[in-house]
């Protein structure tokens, strides 16, 4: 189906557009119900988009969301739910911070060392869930949820002063990292700095696309996601795929905290952002697991996050942004499913019409599509 199909494009765009519209309408209803203007918060938040410092904040935040969402998306592509991205990136950032504070190599070695530490930590943590799933049949959903909770305890343990922790006032930190491990940002005048690792996010996005769409491994992965039986029949080892996908997902997840760690905080403290992994799930869903879609979704999320504090100064509650995020995710999943079924029915109708007209369908892949869609 190389031919450009207008309806297919329409279908692809309809999902997110309907979802966003529904979410905004629903949040407007919430605003009206609480006796506030349903329009002003949006105009305020759109105005924020014009300020360069907010733009920088949005880009920086989006880079972390983007990496976390990519990690989730890899799992989604083969029906694996890595709910543990949250624990993986936090633990990985902590380990990177610890290594960065204790090892002191020249920058050319230090930065790769830190990246590697983060990737390996994340992969190790998700790998536990992967191994349990492959060898013992433990659902990865439950295993990663448990591992998230365990990661919290591990981090608290590593924060102890006689382990790796350094107390700064009331705050637990891991001590300042050596400067060779810092990554300078791109200064944008008074607006602040864009994290250097934003480019890592972009590279990961390109890498994700290449691996999934242009390699044998990516094909196997997508095939396993579309139909495990079909993939197994064509010689894909499902267990190996599960384990590899889990490790890959965890490895990428490990990088999610690094833009802020190497670019700004230089230590893993109580103030380190949490919950990015859970937000990543919503972002991956909104972006339909495609690298470009996720980028837009991450920017949208970061905008909601960074523009909403302004609302507090105008008598609104910034939490409306969280409601919006929740509503977006819920309406996104519903509208995607509805649009998908609508497209499926459209396809079936067309096949039916062609069959009725006496065409031979052997060359057309419509029939296989229909079966796989089930």
């Amino acid at each position: 189906m190389k031919k450009f199909d207008k309806e297919r494009v329409l279908l692809a765009v309809a999902g997110p557009v309907i979802a966003l519209a529904v979410a905004f309408v629903l949040s407007a209803i919430v605003l009206v119900a609480s006796g506030k203007s349903p329009v002003e918060p949006y105009t305020l938040m759109f105005e924020q988009l014009g300020f360069s410092d907010i733009q920088v904040l949005i880009i920086n935040q989006a880079s972390m969301y983007y990496i976390a969402a990519l990690a989730v998306a890899i799992g989604f592509r083969m029906n694996l739910f890595n709910i543990g991205v949250d624990g993986q990136y936090q633990l990985a950032a902590m380990m990177a911070a610890v290594v960065g504070a204790h090892a002191s190599l020249p920058a050319g070695l230090q930065v790769p060392l830190l990246l590697l530490t983060a990737v390996l930590t994340g992969a190790f943590w998700s790998g536990i869930a992967g191994v349990l799933k492959v060898t013992r049949g433990v659902s990865e959903v439950v295993a990663t949820i448990m591992l998230n909770a365990i990661a919290t305890s591990v981090i608290a343990y590593l924060w102890l002063p006689d382990v790796f922790g350094v107390k700064v006032g009331n705050n637990n930190t891991t001590g300042e990292m050596h400067e060779s491990g810092w990554i300078g940002g791109i200064p944008v005048g008074d607006a602040g700095e864009i994290y250097g690792l934003v480019f890592l996010a972009v590279l990961l996005g390109i890498g994700y696309w290449v691996v999934l769409n242009r390699t044998r491994f990516g094909f196997d992965l997508r095939a396993s996601g579309a139909s495990e039986t079909a993939a197994a029949a064509s010689g894909v080892d499902p267990k190996r795929m599960v384990l590899t996908a889990m490790l890959l997902s965890g490895g990428i997840a490990g990088l999610a905290g690094l833009p802020i760690l190497l670019g700004d905080t230089h230590t893993y403290s109580l103030n380190f952002p949490t919950g990015i992994g859970f937000l990543g799930i919503g972002i991956a869903l909104l972006g339909r697991n495609s690298p470009v879609g996720i980028a837009f979704a991450a920017l949208l999320w970061a905008w909601l996050d960074k523009a909403s504090p302004e609302l507090d100064f105008h008598g609104y509650d910034k939490e409306i942004a969280v409601i919006m995020q929740g509503l977006i995710v819920l309406s996104v999943v519903v509208s995607y499913e509805a649009v998908r079924e609508w497209g499926l029915r459209r396809q079936q109708r067309r096949v039916g019409a062609e069959l009725a007209a006496g065409h031979v369908l052997g060359a057309d892949n419509n029939t296989t599509k229909e079966v796989a869609g089930r």
């Binding site: 349990l132 013992r136 959903v141 998230n148 343990y157 869903l285 939490e319």
Partner: protein, 424 residues
Amino acid sequence: MTAPTSAVDVNQPSLQPAAPTGRRMSWQVLLLVIAGALALTSIVRIITGADGITNVSQMSTALQLAVPIGLAGLGGLWAERAGVVNIGLEGMMILGTWFGAWAGFQWGPWTGVVVGIAGGCVGGVLHAIATVTFRVNHIVSGVALNILALGITRYLAPLAFEGHAGGSAKQSPAVETLGHFTVPGLSDGLRDLNNNGWFLVSDIAGLLGGLVTNVSWLTLIAVALIPGTWWILWRTAFGLRLRSCGENPIAAESLGVNVYKYKYIAVIISGGLAGLGGVFLSIVANPFYLEGQVSGRGYIGLAAMIFGNWMPGGLALGAGLFGYTDSLNLRGGSTNVHALLLLGALLLIIGAVYLVIRKKYAPSMITAVIGALVFAWYATTNEVPNQVVSATPYVVTLVVLTLSAQRLRMPKADGLPYRKGQGK
């Protein structure tokens, strides 16, 4: 959990167990195992002198911590028995805590209970609409619901609670207590018996004492819901139909069961139970709503249910285990957990011996080595860091799932989308 079932599906055990052995275990054997575990605990208590591990207050705390987990687990059970995976329990509990406290501080605690349940039900309705009507992936919908519930409560909390005495953007004003009861003579008698420190007798007294001392009425309801659920789901026509939707919806439909209706009912009840668990947190465990109060208990409830093999009794056992390990956190954690290391080591060694008898030498060796390591940990230290204590329940769950996942049997059509008339 979500992938379609097939011959090579790694989600599924490759061989169906000949019979669900867990359920067929006779009462005598089960009682023997429980008695054995208690005896072992008693020995450990006497050796280590950590009386805290079975005293009345410990058990009473454990019960209080187990109730919300058990209620969330029951919620999960209802939904999954009808074939809907409910990872949105967490969000439904959050709704329960907020709505319970919101109604509770204004119109009294019992109104709070009802409104909290209703709040959970609303979450259930949303989940049902997404998963049953629109056939959205169940886990995706659940995750979305969790985000949404968090957002709604965070948004509403400042609007509803700020300006009231004791209320703030993150905390509700105090809710009156629902009232406790202590079974008069029995409680004191058991406590005395518990204090004597006799082998086994005192431990059983401690366990029972915890069940009759300072029990909230809501706890009583929650405990009664477990046999209640069992009776409804396994002994009534309604329950049979509901479970048939989770096992084989196509067959159920062919017999005239309205599958959508049953799934909706099940998910809404599931939300109500999770909401009740939330209410318990914000009215009984604490007399107020606090942001982040649920802190993953919905997920733990789900784990307890899986641990219990999708059965109410097993679920209660799982919730009890979580509640107990959680209570160790609150009461003299590090010494008590240190004592339990010895119990763990003993259990591992017994397991190793059992494996030798079953002629499984390699797993037996591994178990024995781990047991020895745990024993070495016990012998060389005097305390266990607090962080280990807080991780214990989760590690235990992982270990239990690792050991038993192959023998668990979830409802056959659990998590699969179902379309009306799809069998035609």
